[in-house]
């Protein structure tokens, strides 16, 4: 199974409809494929290519540019330790070395049980909480080596409360049909109606 399943296909089609040009949905669709299978399979890229009307090679071209999109299986949990300058100043290197020793892998590697993939990543925008890390893109702040060991134990027991790799936001945008104004295609439409307003004919605005 690697093409999008029927449920995800429906989500994909709803997403594509929010863009004036289907190709714009590529990155969200690649995330969806990753949510389904834990990584982006070649079959999924081919399916996405069909959905947005480009070639599989173009999908691969986009997919291979972005760090979060994995084209090989990774662990259930990506543990991404920040190595940005603020975290570097407050012990990121020591934390990364501790993680390497504890997990027995270098950054980029996955533990033998397939649970954890370790990465040393660039700044993740939690600079005042250094040193920090993300587990499947959920933050852990001011992480000590003791915190890290506890986290690893929780991840191995699946008790850390973190969804498996691939799932990002648990809430999706959803717009009911009657509330959607309609996409603005690049080759349609003139000046929007409200631009003709002037201060004297504005109504009550509510």
């Amino acid at each position: 199974m690697a093409r999008l399943n029927p449920n995800n296909l429906a989500i994909a089609q709803e997403g594509i409809a929010r863009y004036p040009v289907p190709r714009s949905a590529l990155i969200p669709l690649l995330h969806l494929a990753q949510e389904q299978d834990g990584y982006v399979t070649e079959d999924a890229m081919a399916h996405i290519a069909e959905l947005v009307g480009v070639t599989p090679a173009e999908v691969m071209g986009t997919c291979s540019f972005y760090e979060m999109l994995k084209r090989e299986p990774v662990g259930d949990y990506m543990v991404n330790i920040c190595n940005g300058i603020s975290c570097h100043l407050l012990g990121a290197s020591a934390l990364i070395h501790h993680a390497e020793d504890t997990l027995g892998v270098k950054p980029g590697g996955t533990t033998d049980d397939g649970k954890i993939t370790l990465e040393a990543v660039e700044c993740i925008a939690a600079c005042t909480e250094a040193p920090c890390l993300q587990v499947n893109y959920r933050y852990r702040n001011q992480v000590t080596t003791e915190d890290f060991d506890q986290l690893v134990a929780d991840l191995r027991a699946d008790t850390a409360g973190v969804a498996p790799h691939g799932q990002l936001a648990k809430v999706r945008q959803h717009v009911s049909e009657d509330r959607w104004a309609g996409v603005s295609p690049p080759n349609g439409q003139g000046e929007p109606a409200w631009m003709a307003r002037n201060p004297s004919d504005n109504g009550d605005g509510s």
Partner: protein, 445 residues
């Protein structure tokens, strides 16, 4: 003499401490969407006029006046789009994520005001891929706002104002924060910057149409500006840097944090040392250097502490406020390692489109690695500067560039700063024989 006292004035972080400030109920209870209602009573051009009057500078890094940027849309060309730059990734920068997580409706209201003012018929809210919680908060807020009639068809029951906001997210690439790369990414492509000119996507942007790309913090200011008037906004802060600004102070300080302060009048000393803000150095430590505006900015030192956080002053002093990221380093810092850390970032994040950046940043990193491993050669310090000069001729400020975007020249900043001030620390890493050669060569010249 002490600088002007910091104040507790908060405009865009006012809901950060309110438990339900991110929900529609919490937002409405605290005055939310009043700016949008006010805007809808005005002519679109007058809303634009208020933003011009406010002199709101863009908060993403370049600091270009938003009202002026808005004016670059060519007349008569439709549709026009709004793209929100929520790809906050500059090392040290931590404000847009908080604005998205803790006050998502404020950003949505800002988007609606911008769309109304300029006739932008669809908005794309591009959030950094790694920010799962921000994506959730924005999705939930958009779902609420659509159902309540603030977004979508016939906003607030009007017959003529309809605008959709599409939540979009990235997948991990710093370069996508550059606005033309952001547009490429939003079109489903590899996130590589576009050749300039045109310099502003306002003329040719998303799908080749006029596109306004604004930073999250910039847009978050709009509800207040429209509610209170551009003149009231311009009255805060300094003449050339108006309103408030959000700064993250991180690194070797007692109480790192994210602080909204009057723009242009607060000094670096205030924000780094005042107990209400970062609280000074850790006990027993002294300041060695600090980065005033994110990893791309040249470093500042003790003698710069009394400069105000004001765009022109900081530019003229040889650096920039950039994305509001102040990274403080104390006397325990190994500047060669710190320099390598920042350079490695740019080497990793270079998109590879322009040769001077692709090759130059990775060679800079390799040379610094060689120095750090004790294998440095006597000519390596000059070689670093030579590579820098190839990326950014003259190594001046503001930087000249041999590249399409400023990423490459950004890698020059830490090297030029650290080598000029702390050359001895680099030399200390060279093997004893190499140092001897350097010294004798220096004596000969």
């Amino acid at each position: 003499m002490s600088a002007p006292a910091p104040t507790d004035l908060r405009i865009i972080t006012s809901r950060f401490d309110i438990e339900d400030g991110h929900t529609l109920a919490g937002y409405e209870r605290t005055g939310g969407y009043a700016g949008l209602r006010r805007a809808l009573e005005m002519a679109p051009a007058d809303v634009h006029g208020e933003v011009r009057t406010a002199s709101l500078l863009g908060r993403g890094g370049a600091g270009f006046p938003a009202g002026v940027k808005w004016g670059f849309c060519p007349p008569g060309v439709w549709p026009r789009y709004l793209v929100v730059n929520g790809d906050e990734s500059e090392p040290g920068t931590y404000k847009d994520r908080l604005l998205m997580e803790r006050d998502p409706h404020q950003l949505i209201e800002g988007c609606l005001i911008a769309c109304y003012a300029l006739g932008l018929s669809q908005c794309f809210l591009y959030v950094r891929g790694e920010m799962a919680h921000a994506q959730e908060r924005l999705a939930a807020a958009l779902n609420e706002a659509y159902e309540a009639g603030y977004v979508g068809a016939n906003v607030l029951g009007t017959e003529d104002f309809s605008v959709d906001i599409t939540l979009h997210w990235g997948a991990g690439a710093y370069i996508v924060g550059e606005e033309t790369a952001l547009i490429e990414s939003l079109e489903g492509d590899r996130g590589m910057p576009r050749l300039k000119p045109p310099y502003f996507p306002a003329s040719i942007g998303l799908y080749g149409k006029p596109t306004i790309v604004n930073n999250v913090e910039t847009l978050a200011n709009l509800p207040w500006i429209v509610s209170n008037g551009g003149a009231a906004f311009a009255a805060m802060g300094a003449d050339s840097s108006t309103g408030t600004r959000v700064f993250a102070v991180s690194g070797h300080v007692a109480t790192p944090g994210v602080f909204e302060v009057p723009f242009g009048t607060t000094t670096f000393r205030d924000i780094i040392f005042d107990p209400r803000y970062a609280g000074g150095m850790r006990p027993g430590r002294t300041l060695k250097t600090f980065i005033p505006g994110g990893a791309s900015a040249p470093w500042f030192f003790e003698e710069h502490l009394d400069l105000p956080l004001e765009k022109t002053t900081v530019d003229q002093a040889g650096s920039m406020l950039g994305s509001g990221a102040i990274v403080v380093m104390d006397d325990t810092t190994d500047v060669v390692k710190a320099c390598h850390n920042v350079v490695r970032f740019f080497a990793r994040e270079s998109c590879g489109k322009c040769t001077p950046c692709r090759e130059g940043t990775s060679w800079l990193e390799k040379i610094l690695c060689r120095i750090l491993s004790g294998q440095g050669r006597p000519q390596d310090l000059d070689l670093l500067m030579d590579v820098c000069d190839n990326i950014s001729p003259g190594i001046a400020w503001p930087p000249r560039q041999t590249t399409i975007c400023p990423l490459g020249p950004s890698a020059v900043s830490p090297i030029a700063s650290a080598l000029e001030r702390f050359r001895g620390e680099f030399e200390a890493y060279l093997p004893a024989t190499a140092v001897a050669v350097t010294t004798s060569a220096g004596a000969m010249s």
